[in-house]
């Protein structure tokens, strides 16, 4: 079930360095929220803070609240492993497990989470996930072949299938198309449009056309200067951001007059 996320005054640090400052936003369920902004402004860091992947980096920490289902994900006692089961993630570079077949890659999340189930049940989930990722028709005859033998675009859709197989509530995507050609990008954008009916999706992208095409809400991140923390300039409905943004820096960025 898609969830609503409320972020309040989120500050993200690497050691003593503050990477992202005072972000507050509402992430709407069953919608795509795009995060745009120049390189190094903390979009990816922020995205990774939403499912506590951020803290895998040594000395990284977070202040503030990320509230999902009336629970603060950063409250004491929250288990990051449980959080990640509900907030899935797709990465910039396709990263299927090289030792596993296509089938095992999709089933990996379920197996690694120790959910025992019958073979037929597993088959159903794998097929459903691969269909959800628009990949079933292409791989149904080679489910037992290595996942890393697929093309780049297929691998990325395999990773999406793997992420949705564990049925998360929220799907975070960190520049999922930046390593892909336009045709694969189109396939994944189509896929996102379908996925948003069931999932809350947050996507980081450098491609503004992509943000304009697929997203319902767009947030613009910017950075004051080198060594300064990144911050959220504004977030609003996508048509409004791309036609009449409230801030001049947003307008400059999306019209290419930036820097």
């Amino acid at each position: 079930m898609a969830k609503h996320i409320e972020v309040r005054d989120l500050n993200i640090y690497y050691g003593s360095f503050r990477a992202v400052r005072d972000v507050s936003m509402t992430i709407h369920p069953c919608a795509i929220t795009a995060l745009i902004g120049p390189s190094g402004c903390g979009k990816s860091t922020y995205l990774r803070a939403l499912n506590r992947m951020h803290e895998l980096v040594p000395a990284a920490r977070v202040e503030g609240e990320v509230v999902m289902d009336d629970q603060d994900l950063y409250a004491p006692g929250m288990d990051p492993v449980e959080v990640r089961k509900h907030v899935g993630m797709v990465f910039q570079r396709p990263n299927p497990f090289p030792t596993m077949s296509v089938y095992d890659n999709v089933a990996a999340g379920l197996r690694l989470n120790h959910r025992r189930m019958r073979k037929s049940e597993m088959d159903d989930i794998v097929e459903e996930s691969l269909r959800g990722a628009n990949l079933w028709e292409e791989v149904k005859d080679r489910l037992d072949k290595p996942g890393s033998g697929l093309s780049g675009g297929q691998q990325q859709r395999l990773c999406i299938a793997r992420a949705i197989a564990v049925k998360p509530d929220v799907l975070l995507m960190d520049e999922p198309c930046s390593a892909l050609d336009p045709i694969s990008t189109h396939a994944i954008e189509d896929l996102m449009a379908g996925l948003k009916e069931n999932y809350t999706i947050v996507i980081v992208t450098h491609n503004m056309q992509q943000a304009a095409r697929v997203s319902n809400y767009t947030g613009f991140f910017n950075i004051g200067g080198t060594g300064e923390p990144g911050e959220l300039v504004e977030i609003d409905e996508t048509p409004k951001i791309f036609s009449t943004p409230a801030h001049t820096s947003t307008e400059e960025y999306i019209s290419g007059r930036f820097g």
Binding site: N51, M53, L56, P58, V81, E82, V83, R84, K85, H86, G88, M89, F91, R93, N95, P96, F97, P98, T99, A108, G109, R111, L112, N113, H114, R142, K145, P146, S148, G149, C159, R162, A163, V166
Partner: protein, 363 residues
């Protein structure tokens, strides 16, 4: 926007040749290296013949020198300085390779030619119990080598692998740095010190003069652990972080990420490293001489009684032969050959492991 075909005028035809950058250089014919080699051989034969007595080493040295100088000068006059330097250095590097290979080939040839005489069924089925002079075999030593190395592997691999996992996945700060330092120090321990350590340990625990196969295995594992740690550490390190993150993002606990994603991805390299570590200790002599001792009869029990091993057997047969010495020396060479064969089989096993377990990209 103009298309590329429009911007490119028919310059290739109209441009005068003198303006063109010269891209063609002279080059030696393909047979040039072989011709130089032949010429150098003739040239090198002269000083070799003049010098008193024929010396293959002297001839090879002159040959290499003549070849390097010859190909450099010839190439320089035709092809220019850059290619001449390239050819000269190719020759130098190849000579260095040949030089490095010489002792290796020499050892193989010597051991095979001398060891093959007793490489028979009796050697692999009989121990030395009650044998004086000719006959007998190294069955007891083969058993001892397999038992001590096997036990050492059983002890070293879990300890070494867990240490490597700790260092890569968990270790931070002073403790990890300390472990890394001491593992490096352990790599450099002279093997006899490992033997003395095991001997002293068993003397302290079980009383003076306790020498058995298990003590030898302890000595070997002291040598083996650092090798296993280092090779496994490198292999676990090169597993891309992408894969760990992908597994974490599925809501997988850390221990399961390590067990189900990191280790399977690295298993090919780890097993190769382990096999090479075994190959490294299987030929150790000094620690086994002290810690495992030697005996003429077959001993399957590593916890009681001395245990002969191939290297120690070979050493004793060669160092203190009886009269006449020939059968003893022959046995020593054959033991060395057997040891070499075991190491080679281990290497082949390691290679097939990495082929078998390596992540496959193509079906």
């Amino acid at each position: 926007m103009s298309t590329p075909t429009e911007t490119r005028p028919a310059s290739a035809d109209t441009e005068p040749p003198r303006d063109r950058t010269r891209l063609v250089r002279g080059s030696l014919p393909r047979w040039a290296p072989w011709a130089t080699l032949g010429g150098s051989a003739l040239l090198a034969a002269v000083p070799t013949a003049v010098a008193t007595g024929f010396s293959l080493i002297f001839f090879a040295f002159c040959l290499a020198l003549c070849y390097v100088v010859g190909i450099f000068l010839w190439s320089r006059s035709v092809e220019g300085a850059r290619k001449a330097a390239d050819r000269a250095f190719t020759a130098v590097v190849t000579s260095a390779f040949a030089l490095a290979l010489t002792p290796l080939v020499s050892v193989v040839i010597t051991v095979v030619s001398k060891g093959v005489q007793r490489f028979d069924t009796e050697f692999f089925t009989y121990s030395m119990r009650g044998v004086v002079g000719a006959g007998g075999g190294a069955y007891h030593a083969i058993v001892g080598t397999l038992v001590t190395s096997g036990l050492a592997t059983l002890m070293s691999v879990p300890i070494g692998l867990c240490t490597a996992i700790y260092l890569v996945e968990y270790g931070r700060g002073r403790l990890a740095r300390g472990i890394t330092f001491f593992v490096d120090v352990m790599t450099g321990i002279p093997s006899i010190v490992a033997g003395l350590f095991a001997y002293a340990l068993f003397t302290l625990v079980f009383g003076p003069g306790t020498v058995n196969g298990f003590s030898g295995a302890i000595a070997l594992s002291v040598l083996m652990i650092p090798i296993v740690v280092r090779s496994s550490e490198e292999m676990i390190k090169i597993v891309p972080d992408d894969l760990r993150e992908a597994a974490f993002a599925l809501g997988t606990p850390k221990w399961k990420v390590i067990l189900r994603v990191v280790l399977p991805t690295a298993v090919a390299g780890i097993s190769t490293g382990v096999t090479l570590a075994v190959a490294r200790v299987v030929g150790e002599t000094a620690p086994l001489l002290i810690a495992a001792g030697t005996t003429a009869s077959t001993n399957f029990n590593p916890f009681s009684g001395q245990m002969a091993t191939l290297s120690v057997f070979s050493y004793y047969e060669y160092a203190s032969p009886g009269v006449p010495p020939e059968p003893y020396l022959e046995r020593a060479w054959t033991a060395a050959l057997t040891l070499m064969a075991i190491v080679m089989v281990l290497n082949l096993v390691a290679r097939s492991f990495s082929l078998l377990f390596a992540p496959k990209t193509r079906s």
